[in-house]
Structures are given as structure tokens and as C-alpha cells.
Symmetry: C2
Subunit: 220 residues, 2 copies
DNA sequence: AGCGCAATGATTGGATCCAATCCAGCCTTT
DNA sequence: AAAGGCTGGATTGGATCCAATCATTGCGCT
């Protein structure tokens, strides 16, 4: 199954994995050969990826892989906190639907169960990451704003900035306390949403972006 | 001069002007004929415009012009306020450079001069709009964050959400008071930046997005 | 007469071809 | 010997060709 969308997908992966080095110039024929497609889908994918922020136009000829500084990642995380805070406030102002609260509370129990375990394995990392991703997605979708969702999706393309990147394989000794703290925040957020405390939930959500920074600071 | 970038540019214009109706399906050959190019640059531009948010993938076949509800526009403006608030705070925290302050104060005097005139003509609208655009651009660039700038640029693609759209030709009787208010905020923002009042400048900047809503509410 | 299936036209997607541009290396000339 | 220009290769950009898919229409069957 090819198609320029899949090409874009694979290129994204290759960039994130570092198979395409930051600053590297992307030659269309080379990429086409590497992915086993013709130049056409490549030429559709490259401008789209440039709009996405993963590539940069090199002069007027071709594209280079954009590099992300640690500061870029931190900025993206801060941006995410801000936008999710806005989304959460919107939900609180309008009042959360019962199903939304139910789904969120499901996430809470799942997280509780994972963190209650004595030993923390890599499978737990993955399932926490999944749960976390769902939690954040619920908030975004709950705000029912295409604009917020779009802007967040755009922001999520910078490496490590997405909510799914919280539990990015680290020493459990440093990861666990952070996840415990972050999950306490999840509880507080749901509580604030249930109580329609708009300002509080916005502040919480905004602050909730910082634990990720801690995990990453060691990595970067 | 053709090139897929120009094609994207022209398509953007056509969409904003309403020459391409929201929901309309975009046929590649028709567009190619209309713009006098082959299908190739069209096929490069369409996915990029889709990433930009102006188009939406229609099923798995082709694209449609995306429609923006009044709520979308309001959300985008709110998002802009939030992001510019973040940028302004960043500047205040790090301390504004003297040139930045100088450039900002230049904008202030220009605005003062425009608004001091007894009669408000369409040329004044344009120059105020220019000044306003520069003011906001200075804030964004002053934060020196590629991520903030990118996210804002992305957001600016939704119609009327950009800072340049403040003075979108309205009855001067309703426009003038709003611009006066907005420009007072400009003064306050520069003052707060000079004093490094981070929290204040963030709140100001955030609030500064609302006057635009007022102008537009009548239009939408 | 209505429903369904098949065939044809339209449209997208992939591949290839051709032209224009750019870069590098080499040669010539001063 | 250095500098400038020229030529050849590489690479991008535009256009066209071919295949696959989708939709629509018309015909046949029940």
C-alpha cells in the first residue's frame, strides 16, 4: 500500500528515528528509490511535511530535515499545556457531559491500577502512555473545537511534544515519581471539570505540561 | 511565474475571496485549466493546503474547501491571544531588547498619529492595519521561538484570525472606538514589557484579542 | 415498473519523459 | 598562478501518459 500519505507517514518515522539526519538535504530520487515508489508521491509529501514543520525549504530548491533544539521541544510542550488548558476551560465553562466524565474516570482507574503495581515494566510504560494519550485526547475532543484540535495536532508533530511521549523509556526510578505526580494532576483535573471550576482546570492543565519537561530534560 | 508555491498562494486567495465555495470539491484538471498550469503543481499544493487547514480530505479521493464557522474564527482569535500572550511573557521574562522597545514605541506613535486625526479614511484603516500587523509580528519575533512563530503562523491561516484583519472595513463609527481601545492596550503592553511585568503582559495580550471579536461579531 | 448489475466515462494516483536550472570541476587565458 | 568562464552531470520542476478506481447511466432481468 503506497500513496503519498503513507510516504509522508514513513518519512515522519524516518525523521523521528534519526534515519534522516537533521539538516540533511532530501533528494527526491534517492527517497523514491529508498521507499520503492516513484517521485510523484514523494513530491506530494515533501511540501506537506514542510507545512507540518518537519522539513524546511532549502533555498528554492528542495528541502532539508529540520532540526529541533531542546528549547524547541520545551516550547512545544509549553504550547501544548496552554492549548489544552484552553480546551479544558472551555469544557468546564460549558459543563462536561456525563460520558466525558465517565471516560475520563476510566482513564483515572486505569492509571491508578498501573501505578499501584509494585514493579513497573515496559509494558506498563506503554499502557500508561496509551492511557495518557487517551486522557488528553478526551480533553481536546471534549472542547469540540476544530481549531483547538487542529492547532494541537500541528504542535504534536514536534518530537517528544505529544502527550503520548510522556513515558519515553527512562530509568523507572526517575519516571515513576513523575508519573505519580502527573496522575495526581489527572485526578485534580477531572475533579475540577466535574465541579466546573474553569480557571482552576485551566491552571492545572497548564501546569500539567511541566512534568514531561522533567522527564525529557534528562534525555536531551 | 508558476511553481506549486504560487499555486498554493493563488488557491489561498481564491478560497478567501470565496471564488471557491466552502464544501466545494476541487477537481485537479479544472483547477489546472483555471490557473493555466499542469496537474503536477496542483497536486503538490493540495496536500500542503490540506495540512494548512484550508482544505479537507474528502474521503480518500480529492479535497474539499473547508468551511469556517463563526465559532471557528472566534476560537482562532482566542488561540492567537493565548499564543501571543505566551510570546509576550517570554519577552518580559528574558527582558526586552532596547531595539525591540524602540520598534514597538514607533508603532505606538504611528497609531497615536492615525487615531488623532479627526476624520478616519480608508487609507487610515490600511495604515493602522499595517502598524498593528507589525506590532504583533514584533512581539512574536521578539520571543525568538520558532515553535511559537510556527504555531501562530498556522493559526493565522483561518480567515479573519490574523492580526492584520483588525481593521476589516467596517463602519468607522463602530471601528474607531474599538481601535482606540485596542491601541490603549498596545501602550499598556509596551509599558508592561519595559517593566518586565511578565504576568501582566500575558494577561494584557490575551485580553487584547477580544476587541477583534467585537469588530467581527457584527460582520459574521 | 422497479431493482440491480454491468459498462462506460470521469477522475485520481503513479510513473515516466523532457526541459530548465544549478553545481562542480576543469580548462583556458591573462 | 589565479581567476573567470565553459561544459558536463545531477537534480528539480512541469507536463504527459497509463492504470486503477469510483460514479453514473443505461440496459436487462425479475
Amino acid at each position: 500500500m503506497i500513496g503519498y500519505k503513507n510516504v509522508a507517514l514513513r518519512l515522519r518515522e524516518m525523521i523521528l528515528r534519526g534515519e534522516l539526519a537533521p539538516g540533511e538535504r532530501l533528494a527526491e530520487v534517492a527517497l523514491a528509490a529508498r521507499l520503492g515508489v516513484s517521485r510523484t508521491p514523494i513530491r506530494q509529501a515533501l511540501p506537506a511535511l514542510a507545512r507540518e514543520g518537519l522539513l524546511a525549504a532549502a533555498g528554492r530548491r528542495g528541502f532539508v530535515v529540520r532540526s529541533f533544539s531542546p528549547q524547541d521541544v520545551l516550547d512545544a510542550i509549553e504550547t501544548r499545556g496552554l492549548l489544552e488548558g484552553l480546551a479544558a476551560r472551555r469544557i468546564a465553562e460549558r459543563g462536561a457531559t456525563p460520558e466525558l466524565l465517565r471516560s475520563l474516570k476510566e482513564c483515572l482507574s486505569q492509571g491508578d491500577a498501573i501505578l499501584a503495581k509494585r514493579r513497573f515494566e515496559s509494558a506498563d510504560e506503554a499502557s500508561y502512555s496509551d492511557m495518557n494519550g487517551r486522557f488528553h485526547a478526551l480533553i481536546v475532543e471534549g472542547a469540540a473545537s476544530r481549531i483547538f484540535a487542529d492547532t494541537l495536532a500541528h504542535n504534536d508533530h514536534v518530537p517528544f511534544a505529544s502527550a503520548r511521549a510522556v513515558a519515553f523509556s527512562r530509568d523507572p526510578a526517575v519516571l515513576l515519581p513523575v508519573l505519580n505526580y502527573a496522575h495526581r494532576q489527572h485526578h485534580a483535573i477531572v475533579q475540577a471539570l466535574a465541579n466546573r471550576e474553569a480557571a482552576r482546570v485551566e491552571a492545572l492543565m497548564r501546569e500539567h505540561a511541566t512534568p514531561v519537561k522533567e522527564v525529557l530534560n534528562l534525555k536531551l
